[in-house]
Amino acid sequence: MAARHNFDKQLKEIQQDILRLGSLVEQALYDSVQALISLDVAAAGQVIMKDELIDQLCLEIEEKCVRVIATQQPLAGDLRMAVTGIKIIISLERMGDHCVDISRATMCLSGGALTAHPVEYIPEMADIVQQMVKDGLDAYVTRNVEKAKAMCAMDDLVDFIYNRIFRELIGCVKEHPANSYQMAYLLYVNRYIERIADHATNIGEAVIYLVTGERRELN
């Protein structure tokens, strides 16, 4: 009983660490998009700096998961818990990296003003992606398969907005070739945010696997 108690404690700790990591990534996403909109270089720099914390926490969690697997040799649900832990942190870590990419783009864009009108849609898309990341982590805490599925369905909307921004930015490039430098960075940012949404669906899939043991491709 004591061993089981200890094991449960370890799993609980891993889950809480994942949520901490998630909170950092959620914040990074919000901050990086806000920095982009207001072209705030200092805020963008903060996001890049804080990414180190994300990477470090990621390593710690990974090590904890490996240690649980090595020392407790978990089975079934417990094993899935350790494995999904690793899957989720990989997705979160990638999201953090994309936030850094967005911040780098912000730094490159600073000094001028954002003139391209499709830029207005970026916060809209980022809001949806933010909600997806939040819902994904909420689904993980509550083991809610329905919520995970609903979250993954939001990816279609993100893809739709992504395509629209893409088309309109290309249109802007054609109209004002002098501004193509800015458009190119915005195209990147558009892509990064879309990728973050894809990673969010990975979290959703991991939650479904954790609860039901089924592997589903929801992207």
């Binding site: 949520l19 901490r20 998630g22 959620e26 914040q27 919000y30 939040k134 805490v141």
Partner: protein
Amino acid sequence: MRVRSMLEGIGWRSVAIYFFMLLVFFTLLNYAGDKIAIGVMVAISLLFSAFLAIVLYRRVIGPLNEVIEAARDIARGNLSRRLSISSQDEFGDLAKSINDMADRLRHTIDEITAEKDRAQAMLDSMSDVVLALDRKGRIIMVNPAVETTFGIPQADCVGRSVVEVIRNFDLDMVLQRVQATNSQLVREVAIISPEPRIFILRATPLVGNTKGGMVVLLRDISERKRMEQMRSEFMSNVSHELRTPLTSIRGFVETLQDSGTEDPQMTRHFLGIIATETARLSNLVDDLLDLSRIEERRVVHRWQREDIGTLVDQVLTVCGSRAEDKQIAIKASLQPRLPRLFGDPDLLAQVLINLVDNAIKYTPQGGTITISAQVEGDEIRIDVADNGVGIPAENLPRIFERFYRVEKARTRGLGGTGLGLAIVKHIVKGHGGRVDVKSVIGKGTVFSIFLPLEMPVTPPATDSFYLQ
């Protein structure tokens, strides 16, 4: 006395009855022993013991059962249960004691419940989020504000750790530190979900409780932060506005100092500019003083009836000379028998003065300004119309903003501060009214203010001027 109390102590009635019955039994045995067969004696004694048993049951066991039943009932929580034994013996006393005990218990529990309800009501009606955590960081109590603030059902919080409920890294770090150091921490944390807000977080370890744990208080200070930011923006605007005339005054004074005053024409020209700029500076300071006066009276305190005619006369006295300088005629066309305005007369006069002053500035020589007033529904409408230069349509929505100018160079030359219309809007809103403007380029502008005829039931409090 002593013997009696001792007897009472051991329940003398039953003992006395027992001895009395024994006496009767022996008497019977003595007198009738040899006459009646021993069998009859046995029968009698059996009958007698049966009689005694019945008496004993009626008097002792029955009431005792009732007492036990009632005591159990009370222990189960039915505090309204009372014993109905009213005999004068020990059972009567016992029943009375139990009833008293139940009464007192009920009273105490009622008191404790009321106390708890009061504390709960206080917590429930707090707009700040209050969380109580146990030593492992799990939530043991949370108030309903968590639902309104974070959209998380109150019931879902209990038993979970904070990071599972409010996912914020800084918040979690602070709580871990408080747990590790066992000392209070106060921090500002930005929480982005469900909407970006700034909270002041106060985490205090529980005192007088060896089990550990802490109380966490989260207060939304986003509004205050916004206000602070607005205020600093306003201050930087004001500084900028003050610096512009000062720079130009300083420039011309320095030029005069350097080049001397040999050229009288140029000197006069420079002095003229300095005079204009000084006047502008002084206007600006006046407006700022007005502003701080209005800001102090954000809620209109001095509500009284005032005749519109009196207000218009006041305006004519103040603005008359300036209008005459430009040969502008100010006409008043007031509907007869107008009801009196309700509000602070000084502030309302200020509104009209600002509007007329503006009109004078933007009306060319020989123009006309008309002040008219009429009742419309449950409002009084006051129009200040001019036949001046007019305002371009695209600028109309913004002219009530602080420091907004249609055309910077032009208005500065006229000595505007950019605050006049903002003050008008602020005062009118404070009276529960509204402002409107219509303008045609080259034809003129009409500013209309609408004020309610009756004092609003709850005096409207406008935002701070800094927030406009």
